[in-house]
């Protein structure tokens, strides 16, 4: 009776079995990496805006405080995007002829709002509140990055659930004194761990309730 399987068959079978196993692992790995990559999290995303607004110029260069434009950041869930009127407080005097500011002037003249493209967004079932984070010493930089170095606003952090939960489990390493919440590139000469520990106590932050589902979802 002739051989049904050639001598190569055994090798092929081994190769197939191992190959499938490896392929599964690789596929899982790629998926996992992809999920955390900027491709999925859109870190670094820049949108075309009606006005190419530069935080680098306004914050880094001119030293404007965040709250000048994002006025409700300390009082509301929503930090607020400046009304045209806020832009025009300066730009009715400065750069009054600049082409890039035409949409601002047009909005002011016609009363039609400027339509900005959102860069940082959360899903509708996640409820984030700026005011309480700011009050507890979470700096702007923790989620928005070095805005003072962004010529065009881009997404700085993934803002995924794991990003949020990492900090909710252990906020100490990101907390700052209230005076430094709005500062960019702030650092301290004190021990970071000690400061974090102190701020957790001073601000009455209890981590056990911070990871309750109802903290962010309702």
């Amino acid at each position: 009776m002739p051989q049904i399987f050639s001598p190569k068959a055994d090798g092929l079978a081994r190769l197939t079995i191992w190959g499938v196993a490896i392929a599964v692992v690789v596929a899982l790995g790629v998926t996992f990496l992809l999920m955390r990559s900027p491709y999925a999290t859109a870190v670094g995303l820049v949108r075309d805006q009606p006005v190419p607004f530069s935080h680098k110029h306004h914050v880094g260069g001119l030293g404007l405080d965040c709250r000048y434009c994002h006025a409700s950041v300390e009082t509301s869930a929503f930090a607020g995007v400046p009304e045209t009127e806020v832009c025009m407080t300066c730009h009715s005097q400065l750069w009054t002829d600049a082409d890039v500011l035409e949409p601002v002037r047009e909005s002011w003249a016609t009363g039609a709002p400027i339509r900005w493209q959102r860069v940082n967004s959360l899903p509708d079932y996640a409820y984030f509140d700026h005011s309480v984070h700011v009050a507890k010493g979470v700096p702007c930089e923790a989620c928005h990055g070095r805005v003072d170095q962004m010529p065009l606003t881009r997404k700085a952090e993934p803002l995924t659930m794991s990003f949020c939960v990492d900090c909710h489990r252990d906020p100490a390493k990101r907390l700052r004194p209230k005076s430094a919440v709005f500062a960019m590139g702030w650092s301290t000469k004190k021990s970071r761990a000690e400061l974090g520990h102190y701020l957790m106590k001073a601000n009455g932050i209890q981590t056990e309730t911070l990871t309750d589902c109802s903290t962010c979802h309702r």
Partner: protein, 974 residues
């Protein structure tokens, strides 16, 4: 709006049908192709969203934070605070400063926001059904009015409902001055005519008795469903409950009696209830009067009724000046007169009962619908303007009304909906919803509140003030200016004590009411009694069933018939939704061989209607009850095909009782749409009651050790521990909490089809328990999620979508839920609700294939609560969004939450403050103290679920001599 638009529910079901059928194979392939193409193109880049800031932000606005404006509902006259998110009104709360609200609202007011966004509301101006413009109307109508004015108003007629706005009343007065020949008619389908006429007999002028139930120790309700009154019910319920708080001995507990035909919220809240047919109630009133020397001596004809009468008379006699007898609108004027005389004889008039002038005196002085029809047929009316009422629907004879409208040369209808009357008119002008309009509304006690707009007219509606100004030839037509002018004149007349007008006006707008506008009660000085004719004073017993009509507590005269929330809100005692039915006593049901859902035909006054019957224990033998307000035709659709209008049975608009009607079984059967099917309570552990004497004898609370549990032990003695206590002595079962929960939590409407499958979505339900007697004791038990400490729903969830938080809330994580429904199966309280369909999606867009612009209904959603998708389980979480908002505010301020700072939606709206919510770890909190009350109990406590929601047993102050009747709550418990 075109006539072929369908009701919301119709469209919902169409959306479902289209979903059920699914796309065709070709469409599916196309969709698959498109999906693949899009996914490769778009990658994982988040969807584009815009941020659109203001150009110039209004002062005081903080983006993302709701604002509250004081306003007033024109239907109820009760002050409200309207929550507005970035210019979208989303929720109505009561105005705590307004005497008719005191911070609460009735159930129907909660649904007013839905009407604002209702896609069925008529738009702009139509002429004979075709869209035209306000300008066209003004051009055409102005010349017409000018011609009328030259003939001092001859041929011009205006029909309105009750006028509660001072500005509108003033405008109509000045119109009458300039055009004395112009005719003004009133049509109020649910009228107080008999009550006013009764007061006119007693005191010589029309008045409405206003009982102060907080001052009364003995109350007798004679066919008076006081708590369901839109204008005063909230205040009466609050006052009543103030005397029924069983706390620490309960020194000032009242005793309440009701004599009524149908079991109402008011009757069910009393200690003793006697079911009598309408004629029996009249006899009871006369017999009671006789005990106090008014009218001839009389008695009742049955032993229980006689004993009831003896007890009531003895109690009222023993509490002179501290009792109150209240008569309902369905009783004839003569009985109102008798009741007024009883109250005067007992010294109650002027102490526990005030007599207030009616808000709209025109209801007594101006002609009504019958006169309008006669004038129209006689050719005395050339132009008729109908202001927000639907006489073709609510007239006793719709065809005669229709013919009358046809006999008029030009008819103009001003209203929110394209109803039957609007369709019969030449011009249809969209009215403004009160959240879009300026006005001023007078409450039943006279307090005036200013109605201010929260949004621009969404449907291009026109204010009633503007329309009347146009007719009167007023140079001022802007509603704001008209209302402001009224008050500027009035403040100037009063003198300048209150500062400048601008300051006073701003304060009035801010506070939501004009101080010092309450009525002065009239002096209850008796006119001589009319000569008693023996047959009138003692109505004979009638043969056959008497039909008692009453307004539906939610739809009222049908004005809210288009409101899906209210259609689906379970009726207080029957739990019926989407339909009305004829209520029969078990005795009469058996006599007619009719059981629940059997169709009956009612024939009287030349009209015939067919509707299902329901056999209601507690219904008076010999009385069949019917609710008005259903079956109104709006935009070509009869609002819910299951409801039937009973207006046509009435011979005139002031009739509430029908005798000699022919009632027969048709042989058809239609299962009743209700959210509860069993009303008996065989299990004594649910909804317990305790007599006042037993309650007083109870020692301090003894907490039993809860049964052993396999569930994880949680340490909850640190931080907040949320808990709720519901006082069943105070609950009147009105349903306001359910409506408030629906508005607050984006709870969808499912429609009659799904209700028939028992798939209602209310997170909070009010269970009705009735003892299985002939004269049942009815009690109400609101059932929200119990937030069990040992929650059976949690371990069965395969994806941990049902989890506990550290403050004791049983969270439902919608974005995790995969819809296994295991939790629902394992919940002993059945408080979890499942989205079988994509209610949250936009059913109207889906059905009409117009995905271009977002539906108006989306603007109604509370942005602080997740909108749930299809296949997701949902439930009450003690309004976690309100807890979270308060906690975040407290954290920003660096303080702890104070007791009472968080009010859940159901708690805030409750007219009787039956719901208390707070932190049980704080021994000083109201909720902790109630949990220590000896009559506190847990529903199904023996299951060991350790619920955080607990109840206070209903305490009943039974009269000793009636205690053996069985329906008085004397049974031993606990």
């Amino acid at each position: 709006m075109s006539a072929d638009k369908h009701t919301l529910v119709d469209r919902l079901s169409r959306a479902r049908q289209s979903g059920a059928k699914g796309p065709s194979r070709r469409t599916a392939l196309k969709l698959m192709g498109a999906t693949a193409a899009f996914s490769s193109l778009a990658g994982c880049v988040p969807p584009r969203e815009e941020i659109v800031p203001y150009v110039d932000m209004p002062e005081g606005m903080v983006p993302g934070t709701p604002l509250f404006y004081a306003s007033v509902s024109p239907t109820t006259g009760c002050g409200v605070l309207v929550e507005s998110h970035d210019g979208r009104p989303t929720k109505i709360e009561g105005n705590p400063d307004h005497p008719m609200s005191l911070g609460a609202t009735d159930a129907a007011s909660q649904a007013d926001v839905l009407d604002l966004y209702d896609p069925l509301r008529t738009e702009a101006v139509h002429r004979d059904g075709d869209l035209t413009s306000w300008g066209d109307f003004v051009a055409s109508f102005r010349t017409r009015v000018r011609a009328h004015r030259e003939q001092s108003g001859q041929g011009l007629a205006i029909l309105t409902g009750a006028v509660r706005s001072l500005t509108l009343a003033g405008q109509l007065d000045s119109l009458s001055e300039t055009m004395p020949e112009a005719a003004i008619y009133r049509h109020e389908p649910i009228s107080d005519a008999a009550t006013r006429a009764g007061a006119a007999r007693s005191f010589g002028e029309p008045a409405l008795p206003f009982p102060h139930l907080d001052r009364a120790e003995i109350v007798l309700f004679l066919d008076a469903n006081l708590f369901a009154e839109p204008t005063t019910g909230v205040r009466h319920a609050r006052d009543f409950a103030a005397r029924r708080r069983a706390r620490g001995g309960a020194g000032d507990f009242n005793r309440a009696y009701a004599v009524e035909s149908e079991t109402t919220t008011t009757g069910a809240s009393c200690d003793h209830r006697l079911a009598l047919p309408p004629s029996g109630i009249d006899r009871f009133a006369h017999a009671l009067a006789a005990r106090f020397g008014i009218g001839p001596e009389a008695g009742m004809d049955s032993d229980p009724a006689d004993r009831f009468l003896d007890q009531v008379a003895a109690d009222l006699d023993g509490h002179r000046g501290r009792g109150a007898v209240v008569a309902g609108r369905g009783l004839p004027a003569e009985i109102h007169d008798v009741v007024n005389r009883i109250n005067v004889a007992l010294g109650n008039a002027g102490t526990t009962i005030s007599y207030l002038p009616p808000v709209d005196p025109g209801l007594d002085t101006l002609p009504g619908l019958a006169q309008l029809q006669d004038d129209a047929f006689a050719g005395r009316i050339d132009s008729l303007v109908i202001l927000d009422c639907d006489p073709i629907y609510s007239a006793p004879d719709p065809e005669r009304m229709r013919a009358a409208l046809e006999a008029v040369d030009v008819t103009v209808h001003h209203g929110l909906y394209l109803d039957a009357t609007a369709k019969a008119c030449d011009w249809q002008i969209a009215a403004r919803h009160f959240l879009e309009d300026w006005s001023d509304v007078q409450a039943a006690d006279g307090t005036v509140a200013i109605c201010q707009p929260l949004t621009r007219p969404l449907k291009g509606g026109r204010s009633v003030h503007e329309l009347v100004a146009l007719m009167a030839g007023d140079a001022v037509t802007a509603p704001h200016d008209l209302v402001r002018r009224t008050w500027q004149n009035r403040f100037e007349q009063e003198g300048a004590d209150g500062g400048s007008f601008q300051e006073r006006w701003r304060k009035v707008l801010h506070d939501g009411l004009v101080p010092g506008t309450g009525f002065t009660p009239i002096a209850p000085e008796l006119a001589p009694a009319p000569p008693a004719s023996s047959d009138a004073s003692m109505p004979p017993k009638t043969d056959g069933l008497e039909i008692a009509l009453s307004p539906d507590p939610f739809l009222w005269d049908g004005r809210r018939a288009a409101n899906a929330w209210l259609q689906e809100l379970p009726r207080p005692v029957t739990r019926l939704v989407w339909q009305n039915a004829m209520f029969l006593s078990p005795h009469d049901g058996a006599a007619l061989d009719v059981s629940d859902g059997d169709m009956v035909r009612v024939k009287t006054n030349g009209a015939t209607i067919e509707l299902p019957a329901t056999v209601q224990p507690g219904q008076a033998v010999g009385a069949a009850s019917l609710h008005l307000g259903f079956g109104r035709e709006i935009a070509g659709q009869v609002q819910n095909a299951q409801g039937v209008s009973a207006f046509s049975l009435r011979p005139d608009t002031d009739t509430w009782r029908l005798t000699g009607a022919k009632i027969s079984k048709t042989g058809d059967h239609r299962p009743l749409l209700r959210t509860q099917h069993d009303f008996d309570t065989p299990d004594a552990r649910t909804s317990e009651i305790v007599s006042l004497a037993d309650y007083r004898a109870l020692g301090p609370k003894e907490r039993e050790e809860p049964p052993e549990s396999l569930y994880p032990e949680r340490l909850d003695d640190e931080g907040y521990a949320w808990a709720m206590v519901i006082d069943q002595s105070a609950c009147i079962g009105c349903g306001a909490c359910v409506a408030a929960c629906q508005a607050e939590n984006n709870v969808p409407v499912v429609g009659p089809e799904e209700i028939a499958r028992n798939r209602d979505m209310h997170w909070l339900r009010v269970d009705v328990h009735q003892t299985p007697d002939e004269t049942p004791e009815t009690r109400f038990q609101p059932v929200p999620c119990m937030q069990c400490e040992k929650a059976p729903c949690e371990p069965v969830c395969p994806v941990e979508a049902s989890v506990h938080d550290h403050e004791g809330l049983n969270d439902q994580v919608y974005n995790r839920c995969i819809g296994t429904r295991f939790c629902q199966s394992n919940c002993p309280y059945k408080v979890r609700r499942f989205n079988f369909f994509d209610y949250a999606g936009d059913p109207i867009q889906e059905a009409e294939q117009t995905p271009t612009e977002p539906s108006l209904l989306q603007a109604l959603k509370n942005p602080d609560v997740t909108v749930r998708g299809r296949g997701v389980m949902e439930k009450c979480t003690y309004c976690v969004q309100r807890i979270s908002a308060a906690r975040r505010d407290a954290k920003v301020d660096g303080r702890a939450l104070a007791d009472g700072e968080i009010k859940t939606a159901c708690q805030a709206v409750c007219p009787t403050q039956a719901i208390t919510f707070g932190d049980k770890n704080d021994p000083g909190s109201a909720v902790s103290q109630l949990r220590e009350e000896p009559h506190e109990y847990a529903l199904f406590g023996h299951l060991g679920t350790r619920p955080r929601t607990t109840y206070l047993k209903r305490v009943v102050n039974a009269a000793p001599d009636l205690a053996s009747d069985g329906h008085d709550g004397s049974e031993e418990s606990g």
